[in-house]
Symmetry: C2
Subunit: 314 residues, 2 copies
């Protein structure tokens, strides 16, 4: 029943004088995704963005930028490598390749170190790990800003927030692990219509468990992926909504519904609030400057009450 | 500079009607250890026990019982398999195979699941994981008590305590990472002569860092292994001293000297006290009954103050 929910993520920005990425045919993305062992299940579009729901997470395509997130045993670096080839190295204005710490790293076909040795043959960049190896940690590879090209600074400067929840509990977690779930009920329990008003959404229920949803509204997006399996549950939420001016505290809301034992918040150019409930301890935090105007903020939280652990028979 | 400090451990008890394991020649142990990718560096003996200091941790041999601990990229399961062959499956009264969660599991040549599939071809047993995969966790495989043989119950019933410390800090940790260390100074900083009075000891300093010590006194033993590397420091302490009646609170003492960010305590038939300082939170705890009179107690602690993490450039 184990499924690796923890994701790999690629953000790629191309030079402003390139044509729009949205003009590329579906076949282009299908061929690239195949290298990552992922395929398109469905898609939605608006004037600014195409959002593809994948067998292994999500792809968002704007005119000059993509965000590609894949989980499981996907080989995202191979798709990244192919994308660089097809788009041309000289057209890559910015690339950020991220891996979250896996539950079962030994099952992956490559490590982050393997991945960046491939990427470094194509683009120059800086890599780091944030967080200890024996606890939650995240790997980042980011290219230096491409001085020969007019970088799409406004796109790079966009804020993005990732909320990663581990070991969810409570009635909604129980529902997500039960038989006979429906998309309608999951959306209702997560109150997604209230949290993300007026977004176009595209959701998928996996068998026997698992839920993915993409939402777009203008240039804004959100995506949620739920791996509810009892012993290795993981929920990721990612959005570029400006949380500080948003009417609802999305992070607090989702943490209170899903009651994770621990969670990480990663803010790209944004430092989100700490949820007040459940009572929690920040175990570790870090700020990492990618560029002078671009900071990554990482924080790792744990519920304050000790957890009675159940041995898992193997 | 990375070294995998986290250990694999084998405890093996043979039937009381077998000859003494201590009569086996050094070559026997050398050949078995070679399969685990470990070798004997030195040894000490008393009337009850032979203690071997290894290139990868320690081996203790009593008349009817061994404890073999190996770290790094050692392949302990291969040594365990060979030992079962040489001693005879029918002579194995009890076997416990343990793996602590590795810092870099993907670098290991096998997983715990791989290992127990080998052991299960030889002996019947029960396996479990205690602790979440994304945090500290420990794997245990224990054989059912061998009803056809008179098991060495008193040996099995022995208490054993493991204290595993992660991310040590402070002046002693700094010394352990510095150049020009000496065995004399390390023993003095750790106050080992006061903590373990009248033990015969055997210590080794590895290059450029790393410290191992075995100590024996009658049937009692302790062993300490220190991997001080800044980004992946790990210290293990193991002893069968009866902590509840001991004059010094060894665990509190070593935690206060080495100031780990987090630590685990695993008690086999013993539930050690929680150190009062530094201020800490028990993140998770578990009791696991191996047999009706034999319980394993696991607790995972973290310092209460949030840690400012430094990104590690890769």
């Amino acid at each position: 029943m184990f499924f690796e929910g923890a994701e790999k993520k690629l953000e790629l920005v191309i030079a402003q004088d390139c044509g729009s990425l949205r003009l590329l045919p579906l076949l282009f993305w299908q061929e690239v995704l195949m290298l990552a062992k992922a395929e398109v299940l469905s898609s939605i579009s608006n004037d600014d963005c195409d959002a593809y729901l994948l067998s292994e997470s999500s792809l968002f395509v704007w005119n000059h930028r993509i965000v590609l997130i894949t989980c499981g045993l996907s080989t995202l670096v191979d798709a990244a490598n192919e994308l660089i080839s097809r788009l041309g190295e000289h057209n890559v204005a910015y690339l950020c390749y991220q891996r979250k710490n896996e539950f079962a790293a030994h099952l992956q076909s490559s490590s982050f170190i393997d991945d960046i040795s491939i990427l470094r043959q194509r683009v120059k960049g800086t890599a780091c790990r944030i967080g200890h190896l024996d606890s939650h940690h995240h790997y980042l590879f980011t290219t230096d800003l491409h001085t020969g090209l007019e970088a799409n600074l406004s796109a790079i400067g966009d804020t993005c927030c990732e909320l990663l929840m581990y070991h969810i509990s409570g009635p909604v977690a129980d529902y997500l692990r039960a038989d006979n779930q429906t998309l309608v009920d999951i959306k209702k329990y997560l109150q997604l219509d209230e949290l993300f008003t007026d977004f176009i959404t595209d959701a998928h229920l996996f068998s026997p468990f698992g839920f993915s949803i993409n939402g777009i509204k203008g240039k804004q997006y959100f995506t949620i992926h739920i791996t509810p399996q009892e012993q290795s549950s993981y929920v990721s939420v990612e959005t570029n909504i400006e949380l500080s001016t948003y009417t609802i505290d999305i992070i607090s809301y989702l943490v209170s519904i899903l009651q994770p034992r621990s969670w990480d918040i990663i803010g790209f150019n944004v430092q989100p609030n700490v949820p007040a409930a459940p009572q929690n301890l920040c175990l570790g935090y870090c700020s990492y400057p990618i560029d002078k105007d671009y900071n990554v903020h990482f924080s790792h939280y744990q519920q304050l009450c000790p957890e009675a652990l159940n041995p898992e028979l193997l």
